[in-house]
Symmetry: C3
Subunit: 351 residues, 3 copies
Amino acid sequence: MKRIGLVSAAVLAVTSVGGVLHYTGSVPTAVFALTGAALGGLAWIIGIATESVGMRFGPAATGVLQSTLGNLPELFIVLFSLSAGEIVVAQTSILGSLFANALLVLGLAIVAGARAADGDVMRFRRRLPNDTATLLLLALFAIALLGLSDRLGDRASRHQVAISVVGAVCLLAVYAAWLWSYLRSDSPVEPSHEVPTHTELPFTAALLALATAGVAAAFVSDWFVAAIDPAVKALGISKAFTGIVIVAIAGNAVENVVGITLAAKGQADLAVSVVKNSVAQIACFLFPALVLLSLFFSDRLTFVLNPVYIGALAVTALAVWQITGDGEAYAYEGWALVALYVILATVTFYE
Amino acid sequence: MKRIGLVSAAVLAVTSVGGVLHYTGSVPTAVFALTGAALGGLAWIIGIATESVGMRFGPAATGVLQSTLGNLPELFIVLFSLSAGEIVVAQTSILGSLFANALLVLGLAIVAGARAADGDVMRFRRRLPNDTATLLLLALFAIALLGLSDRLGDRASRHQVAISVVGAVCLLAVYAAWLWSYLRSDSPVEPSHEVPTHTELPFTAALLALATAGVAAAFVSDWFVAAIDPAVKALGISKAFTGIVIVAIAGNAVENVVGITLAAKGQADLAVSVVKNSVAQIACFLFPALVLLSLFFSDRLTFVLNPVYIGALAVTALAVWQITGDGEAYAYEGWALVALYVILATVTFYE
Amino acid sequence: MKRIGLVSAAVLAVTSVGGVLHYTGSVPTAVFALTGAALGGLAWIIGIATESVGMRFGPAATGVLQSTLGNLPELFIVLFSLSAGEIVVAQTSILGSLFANALLVLGLAIVAGARAADGDVMRFRRRLPNDTATLLLLALFAIALLGLSDRLGDRASRHQVAISVVGAVCLLAVYAAWLWSYLRSDSPVEPSHEVPTHTELPFTAALLALATAGVAAAFVSDWFVAAIDPAVKALGISKAFTGIVIVAIAGNAVENVVGITLAAKGQADLAVSVVKNSVAQIACFLFPALVLLSLFFSDRLTFVLNPVYIGALAVTALAVWQITGDGEAYAYEGWALVALYVILATVTFYE
């Protein structure tokens, strides 16, 4: 409780300074850094509040809440990027969250988990990793087909929005079918939430925190997106790097650091559940939902990505499936996932 | 028996009308629709007749018979397409049969099977799905290498026919080695055929039906292929869509609807066997055999495909392996396969 | 022992003739053939000597020794190719060793092993195949990202050396972490070396053989590389074929023929260990180490490969994982791997 208060105060301070600098229009790099940090803090608060609210309604509701609210900062950044016409930032922010969770956070969780486990092997249930692999392959299919058609410049490449919409509806339908089967499965795949992943907040406090942090996240995302253009010029980094690394870690990965902590405590199943659910949500809920939402914007978000990210997504899906599909992971396999993220970050740094 | 008689009469009627319209040269769209429907019916009759003939010689012979005769309508369409110079139709017809079986029929069989099973999980033996994955990866290797070389326009791209022939011989040799090992395996992987998949016909009637339906399929395929060009112009659909969706469902998937029925009855192993055998046959028997046969035509069939289909084939191979390789499938996984087919059909619709 | 002496004498004779022809500058095709054969013999001697030296220090040291010395001929050829500016030969030699081991040698070992086993199924421990799959996917990630970026010609494509260096460091770090975990694992994954893979040499003789064969390999590699250019012109084969097939088989596969012999004797685990360790070493130790070493040359070796080889590497990684990941392999699966190598060799023959 005390820690939550302290962090909230710090986030409030950083947010305020970021807001003042934004409205005075000075030092965009500082706005960029401060709002980035504030987003990380807000994402963490929203994570705790969502879970505390969910406690009231049982694990099924928590799952649904997390899938809709947990990615709130992410969602705002993408929406503000779209309305600012920053398609590259919007796309790489979504992809970056996926890569940061599937490679960096999962990798570190495996390293921590393997260290905590007997015999240097982290063991966990096999269903969720395999479900995530299925959902990732589904998203990959839509993305790869559109990407290849786009490279060829064939007739289908002139109907990318229409095909993306059909793909998005398919992905959301399968995600709903999966969530339904996952939440009602007789033998709960996910361990019961008796061991909360975060400190719990009282219900009213949680609701209040959720509302405040949600509104704050909207404002901070707006300021952050506005600062990207001047900041990347001043700092000499690429927009792709901003999305794949900075937004990804601030907007999504920070919240999932809890996965690493859980793994270090030996709670392998819960750790895998937190990280894997995030990955599945981004690929088959957040991305398609944003594709549909973008129909109301002048710049459309489609599944057509830079081929480098399509390749990265394909090998990520395979590596995560290969490493976690058998319900066992060695520390070196965690390092392998981290290495994938480092290589990807290096490539985007030079984009 | 009665149903077979009724269907045969209907197929005969549709075939006759299609033939008359073909020879009077009127309304190609009607010829297209009627002969498409007739092909579905003929494929169904050939399926029943093949199995009934096979009963006489035991399961091994049935397997071989099915692999040679079961794809007869498919084979005729591809051969007539080749002789008419319709390479796109020939290629997409083969690919479409593969996708329709591996995604649409298998997906629906899993949905039906998971519903029929205890605990919402369809369970089946693991060998055949993994064998199919191996064979699909083998075909993918030849196809991907030729496709990449073709895109680069390198020296090897000028020897596509020679490389395709070597690839086809390799694929057929491995398929023969697999069929040999599969049919003589001590513990039969496929459940015994005591539960016939179709109603049985008496031996002589079956032979007669096979001969008649085979000859009819040849004629109907000829009329169908002749009608494609004017029909797709009149209907405004693409030739790729004709091959991937219409030919695929008429020429191959209809016969395999039995897989869905079997799954719904809880016969998971038999259902998987019917569908998976079809997929393996198309990839490693029908496609390479047609590549070799096409050497006698002026237009050659090679393994060089549109990159969109290579990507689709790669992710299909992975998804089918991932979903069925562990011998378990949930309903949502079936829907995921169906979603892949819908996305693919959408892309080809716009090609 | 006797056989080692005979082979050594033969290798010495072939090497001498090759050297004389090289320095007299006559008949490059003969130099090419003789030095190629000599390299195969030297690789075989180095293999035996390394193992005999390793015996003195236990299996851990043998593993490390093999990973550093076992690929010595390979290493020399790549270094001399780099210094002669033959980038294609350098790259395809590394890749060829990987493909020859992962496809040809492993495939034949599975065929031999399945024949030797009860029930026509070769069975082995599952860890090493899965570890190799993880390491191959890691290497594939770096290679695929750089390859795609190169095809796009984007900004990152101008920093291929820097990205390759980061990738190489990542690969080496993960390989070190894997080797550490693999060598100290409580339950030894690799069967004890009580059954030596080769005839054993006394320690001093082994050291002497290692030094002599190592120095000889350096000279022979130099002569071989110098003969490539005139020889491929005279023979009408491509440089890619030289690397993928000739260097691969001479420099690496010959030594691993022992894997096939072991499999035929029913020593499935040891056979898989020999072949799989080679594949992992080439992908995650030899290739990245050479990328770093090439920084001292005027021509740099990077992870940027011809897309045809990237595709081949991707499907090879998948096929090897799919076939061996479950700890079981049928003979037809071995033939499937051999077929992949034949198809690849055919494509490179026409490059």
